[in-house]
């Protein structure tokens, strides 16, 4: 096969458009199922409220501050729980991290434990963190988008292509988290009642541990691991400090009504990569700074070579992608929605790189 990439694109397009889609049937089915989900969600919330009342009435409420110190005990797992996962690598890969990377603290911000309502509200703050890594990690990613904050941890890949991976999520509502799936067990996380959902039908058992660190805050750990490992990881989740989801640039030419809608910071291969989503009325733009150069420049923006491409995305919506050369890095922008191309170009050309490789030196907000 001489041109794999073009053949691949042709193949995928042919398969995808092989048969018409009955949109009205799709819409009816989605609405019908959606109404059922909504009804079920209301019942779950009601059930949780009743359960909480029953626990308090029964004297089971935990009054010890959850994060008063490093936990000395981990949750009680069922007696038949398997030993800690054998998929966890025993030795770190060359570029693996053995401790959680460093992000600047935001001492003025209220932590999740005392102000759960703050979780997910400011995309440039991270309320959820881990005290320790359960295995050497090649990729640590923190994400704040749509009212949910999450951490994704990935270890070195195994010979079969799989890699130890888990996700920590925190949100103000259980509905903000990924749904539980599988057989449920009662466990505890640092003394708090929790539920572990174990899906044993998966190729590798998939476990989700969910608990309420304080009223009004939900936390969850999920991944392909055994229950004991998931509960142990949950015990390491920290919600008593706030960190900044910082980016190494400022956007002085952003429109006055622009606001940050999401933040994503990734530590991998000895580098830290950070991007933000910027929302302007009717459109959004993702902005980041990536290592590498710009090839096939077709414009000059801010006095620098740039590659500007506009095309139709999935479903026909307009997408504008810009890469502006900044030496050994490039500024990367992707705009979607009813954007103004001139404004996006101005935004791209005006990006000011700020700070070095240490996130502590990065600005509090790219819009400041």
């Amino acid at each position: 096969m001489t041109n794999m990439k073009s053949t691949l694109t042709e193949t995928l397009q042919a398969v995808a458009t092989d048969e018409d889609v009955h949109v009205e049937r799709l819409l009816a089915g989605a609405r019908r199922t959606g109404v059922r989900y909504r009804r079920r969600h209301r019942m779950v919330v009601l059930g949780c409220t009743v359960l909480s009342c029953a626990m308090i009435a029964g004297g089971l409420a935990v009054v010890r501050p959850l994060w008063a110190g490093r936990p000395t005990t981990v949750s009680v797992a069922p007696a038949n729980s398997p030993a800690p996962s054998a998929t966890v690598p025993s030795s770190p890969a060359p570029s693996a991290m053995t401790a959680m990377p460093s992000l600047p603290l935001a001492p003025a911000a209220s932590p999740a434990l005392t102000a759960p309502d703050e979780v997910g509200r400011n995309p440039l703050l991270l309320h959820v963190w881990l005290a320790t890594l359960p295995f050497p990690a090649t990729n640590v990613q923190a994400l704040n988008i749509g009212g949910q904050e999450s951490l994704s941890i990935e270890g070195p890949g195994a010979a079969d292509g799989s890699a130890p991976t888990f996700v920590v999520q925190a949100g103000r509502r259980a509905a903000d988290l990924d749904p539980l799936s599988g057989t449920r067990h009662d466990v505890t996380v640092n003394g708090r009642a929790a539920v572990a959902a174990v899906n044993s039908r998966a190729v590798r058992p998939f476990v989700t541990v969910r608990w309420q660190p304080v009223t009004g805050l939900w936390a969850q750990v999920s991944g392909a691991m055994n229950q004991a490992t998931a509960v142990a990881i949950a015990a390491e989740v920290r919600l008593d400090q706030v960190r900044r989801c910082a980016v190494p640039f400022r956007l002085p030419d952003a429109p006055a009504n622009a606001r940050i809608s999401s933040c994503n910071i990734t530590f991998a291969d000895g580098q830290v990569l950070a991007t933000v989503g910027v929302q302007v009325s009717g459109w959004t733009v993702g902005v980041g700074v990536m290592p590498g150069g710009v090839r096939n420049a077709n414009e000059v923006l801010g006095g620098r070579p740039a590659r500007v491409v506009e095309h139709s995305g999935d479903g026909g919506g307009r997408i504008m992608e810009i890469r502006v050369d900044r030496g050994d890095h490039f500024v990367d922008l992707t705009a979607e929605g009813a954007y103004n191309a001139a404004v996006v170009r101005s935004l791209a050309g005006g990006v000011v790189l700020s700070g070095g490789s240490d996130p502590a030196d990065w600005p509090v907000s790219p819009l400041s």
Binding site: M1, M4, K5, T7, L8, T9, T11, L12, Q13, V15, A16, D18, V21, V23, L26, L27, G29, A30, R31, R32, T33, G34, V35, Y37, R38, H41, T138, N139, Q141, L143, G146, S152, G161, A175, D178, S181, N199, R201, A202, V203, F206, S261, S262, A268, L273, T275, G277, Q279, T284, G286, M290, G313, D314, G315, G316, G317, D332, T334, E336, G337
Partner: protein, 175 residues
């Protein structure tokens, strides 16, 4: 009631506008026509519940695409090993019945369906959705470096398996 009506109309309009594209993407992510339609419908149902919040993100397309990818990977995790998608008897490649290009594409699609779910998702997002590394990384909750690695691994696998398949077919057709 006003909010409900507003929410309903907005959701309906979105599905009518983008629903078909979502189903097409889901078909590729799951590797199966029927499963793709079920997955797209389920994701839209979950989106229906939180539609107001999704629209506040300003980019429902990106949000739903991410939901779809996550759901396709979760779906794979839930499946038993017996249910990992493989080519059905009806998908057998019959060289000679169609042109060589069609046979080649059939063979390639069969190998794409056998990729691990995360690799398949990266391949679909790159070569069907035409997304760049950063966009795929945001959807897959990983770094752009990981995306490039996954693409490289997938292409290597595809090349080797398609070439092996072609050799086998050639040997079989040799008298």
């Amino acid at each position: 009631m006003i909010v409900w009506e507003g929410c309903r109309l907005e959701f309906d309009d979105y599905v009518r506008l983008r629903g078909a594209a979502m189903v097409r993407l889901a078909r590729l992510l799951t590797g199966d026509r029927g499963a793709g339609e079920d997955l797209a419908q389920d994701v839209l149902a979950r989106a229906f519940v939180r539609w107001e919040r999704i629209t506040k993100t300003g980019s429902p397309e990106a949000y739903l695409r991410q939901m779809l990818v996550n759901a396709s990977i979760s779906r794979w995790r839930r499946l038993s090993s017996r249910e990992v998608p493989v080519a059905t008897a009806g998908d057998e490649v019959v060289v000679g019945d169609f042109g060589a290009d069609v046979a080649q594409r059939d063979a390639l699609w069969r190998v794409v369906r056998e990729l691990p779910p995360r690799q398949r998702a990266v391949v679909v997002l790159r070569f069907y959705e035409d997304l760049d590394d950063a966009s795929i990384a945001a959807i897959m909750h990983c770094s752009a470096v990981t995306v490039r690695t996954q693409v490289m691994r997938a292409l290597t696998t595809l090349r080797s398996r398609v070439d092996a398949s072609a050799e086998t077919t050639s040997l079989r057709s040799t008298p």
